[in-house]
């Protein structure tokens, strides 16, 4: 045991960011108690059977869903003001990173990037809809530049986006983003975060300049795709000239199968956030130490090597498991469709599980660390300003208690599972000719989903160690 402690100390001493679990901030979550775990697990299994039983009965058309028109107005002044505000916040974040105090708690850039933007927009997308389409500052500012360019005769190159490249640019960016969030000691350093934002901006605008704004956003816009997928779970959508209200999750019914790169992206999304939670468990610490031991001769690069292996291994395992299940689904369904069609059609049904785990994982960070923004809007650079009289505000940890966090986590994970099973069934009925084939095809998928949901619950039930 002492040996392990010595190694652990060495591990941490080698890289200050090695034990760093988030881009910023700490989660103070208590491990989920056993009775919540049992109830959650039981509900997952029971509800899987309930949904399957519902599907034993004949049903009408699939793939369509009811929606209610909220408004057909476009509110140009309001949306214009929101866009200007979004662009302002984006510029403020970068400027604060460079000119503000370098303490992560006294500079608005850190909370803005890791809590308000990354976690807050994920939540808003999953609960409401595609808010990112409205507030994406890279797209907004680029569109302004395009208008300016028209006047002075400068145009984007608009080269044809190569089909073989698919969404791989976004996949690569998501992997780098996850790596930075989990391993990067600079993630809490304002100047370094600002530099990362500038680098991302150059990449994004470069891509938009070469391939056109929308072509790049669709294939290389990593957050356009992440928030866009989350938003398909949301209850609002903009379709056919109207803002519509719809049931949750139905937006994930696949209109057409995802390409291989999109499929890999969705599974990477699921795998990285799971890996984030997993790194905070004792089991992970034990595994990391076992991996670290033979590598420690390499010196200071041993730690990044271990964390990179871990971050690459989890998505690889997930993608392999998913493809094996897709093969079994294909065989059970009679083999009428190609593996690409099967894998691409069912992958969207995994998204609610990713959303559920994401919500459970980050809620406390959003609620507690998010409160720092109240003080920071009054003093964004840490200069001692008090613009709105809120500079002295400190996060109140009693706004949410452990029971609520436990209840929220279990409910999110269970409901995410229910949505996933439902979506997979809709897909099965659509793809397979007979109800028998559709039902049989769902056995391997259900096993995968129950297994994954239990892993999510298990992680939430582990004490957080750093």
């Amino acid at each position: 045991m002492l040996h392990v402690f010595a190694l652990l100390t060495a591990l941490i001493a080698l890289a200050p960011g090695a034990a760093h679990a988030h881009g910023f901030g700490m989660r103070y979550d208590l491990p989920l108690p056993l009775d919540y775990f049992i109830w959650g697990g039981g509900a997952v299994v029971a509800l899987s059977f309930v949904i399957t039983a519902i599907f034993l009965r004949p049903h009408g058309r699939v793939g369509t869903y009811p929606s209610l028109v909220v408004t057909r107005r476009t509110f140009p002044i309001l949306t214009g003001a929101i866009r200007i505000f979004a662009a302002f916040v984006f510029i403020l974040t970068i400027v604060a990173g460079y000119i503000g105090a370098q303490n992560p708690y006294r500079n608005i850039s850190i909370v803005m990037v890791w809590v308000i933007a990354w976690v807050g927009i994920s939540y808003a997308s999953a609960f409401l809809g595609n808010v990112w389409a409205l507030i994406n500052p890279w797209r907004i500012i680029f569109a302004w530049a395009e208008r300016l360019g028209q006047r002075i005769g400068v145009r984007t190159l608009d080269l044809a986006y190569p089909a073989w490249l698919g969404t791989w640019p976004a996949f690569a960016q998501l992997f780098v983003f996850a790596w930075l969030e989990l391993n990067w000691p600079g993630s809490g350093v304002p100047t370094q975060v600002a530099t990362a934002l500038v680098a991302f901006t150059i990449l994004t605008w470069g891509g938009m300049y070469v391939f056109g704004r929308e072509a790049w956003a669709k294939n290389g816009g990593v957050f356009v795709i992440v928030f866009g997928l989350f938003a398909r779970f949301g209850i609002f959508e903009w379709k056919e000239g109207a803002l519509r209200l719809r049931p949750p999750a139905v937006g994930l019914i696949a209109e057409q199968p995802a390409s291989f790169s999109e499929m890999a992206f969705i599974i990477l999304m699921l795998a990285t956030v799971t890996y984030d939670g997993f790194t905070e468990t004792e089991l992970f610490q034990t595994l990391a130490l076992a991996l670290f031991e033979p590598l420690q001769g390499l010196g200071s690069i041993a730690v990044p090597i271990v964390s990179t292996i871990g971050l690459a291994a989890v998505p690889l395992i997930f993608i392999t498991a998913y493809l094996i299940v897709a093969m079994l689904v294909r065989r059970a369904g009679g083999g009428t469709h190609s593996l690409a069609t099967i894998a691409g059609s069912f992958v969207y049904s995994i998204v609610p599980i990713a959303i559920a785990y994401h919500l459970a994982h980050y809620l406390s960070l959003l609620i507690f660390e998010g409160q720092n923004v109240f003080a920071l809007i009054s003093d964004p650079f840490g200069y001692g300003w008090d613009l709105f009289g809120t500079a002295a505000y400190r996060p109140d940890l009693s706004v949410m208690n452990a029971e609520f966090l436990w209840f929220f986590s279990v409910t999110a994970i269970v409901l995410g599972h229910v949505a996933a099973v439902y979506l997979a069934h809709v897909e099965a009925v659509r793809l397979f000719a007979t109800r028998r084939a559709a039902l049989l095809s769902q056995v391997p998928m259900l096993v995968l989903m129950v297994g994954y949901t239990m892993v999510s619950l298990w992680i939430v039930a582990q004490p957080i160690v750093n």
Binding site: P16, H20, P33, A101, L397, E403
Partner: protein, 126 residues
């Protein structure tokens, strides 16, 4: 499904695990001894919400300790233990870390998560 969700809620709202401390603001006195900045044995201290916690930390070397969440900082020396007195109002699992003043930030507060936790304080619901 709604019925099941309700059942889930009701069952979780009344945890099976009975707490043995029921009165509010029970005093909780805890003493921990650090050797070389480490606790020998159990690293997790458990108290109940609203307990009046009195946490006394002896150390064989001078060490400044930071309790995250409650944001308290005390220094322990070989002849003078650190004493943390507070009411455990917020539930959660809070790490206590060594405060390293050479962290480069301008208040000297170490960036969260960058040092190994010496111990964890779990404030459980009653």
């Amino acid at each position: 499904m709604l019925a099941l969700a309700t059942a889930l809620f009701l069952s979780t709202a009344a945890p099976l695990e009975q707490s043995f401390v029921t009165q509010a603001q029970a005093p909780a006195s805890i003493e921990v001894t650090l050797k070389g900045g480490k606790v020998a044995g159990e690293r997790t201290i458990r108290v109940k919400r609203d307990d009046e916690v009195s946490l006394r930390i002896n150390s064989d070397r001078t060490i400044t300790l930071h309790l995250h969440g409650y944001d308290l900082e005390r220094t322990a020396a070989p002849d003078a233990p650190a004493i943390f007195n507070f009411t455990a109002r917020a539930t959660g699992r809070f790490p206590m870390e060594e405060h390293i003043s050479a962290s480069g930030s301008d208040t000297g507060k170490a960036s969260p998560g960058h040092a190994p936790a010496i111990l964890y304080l779990e404030v459980l619901p009653k």
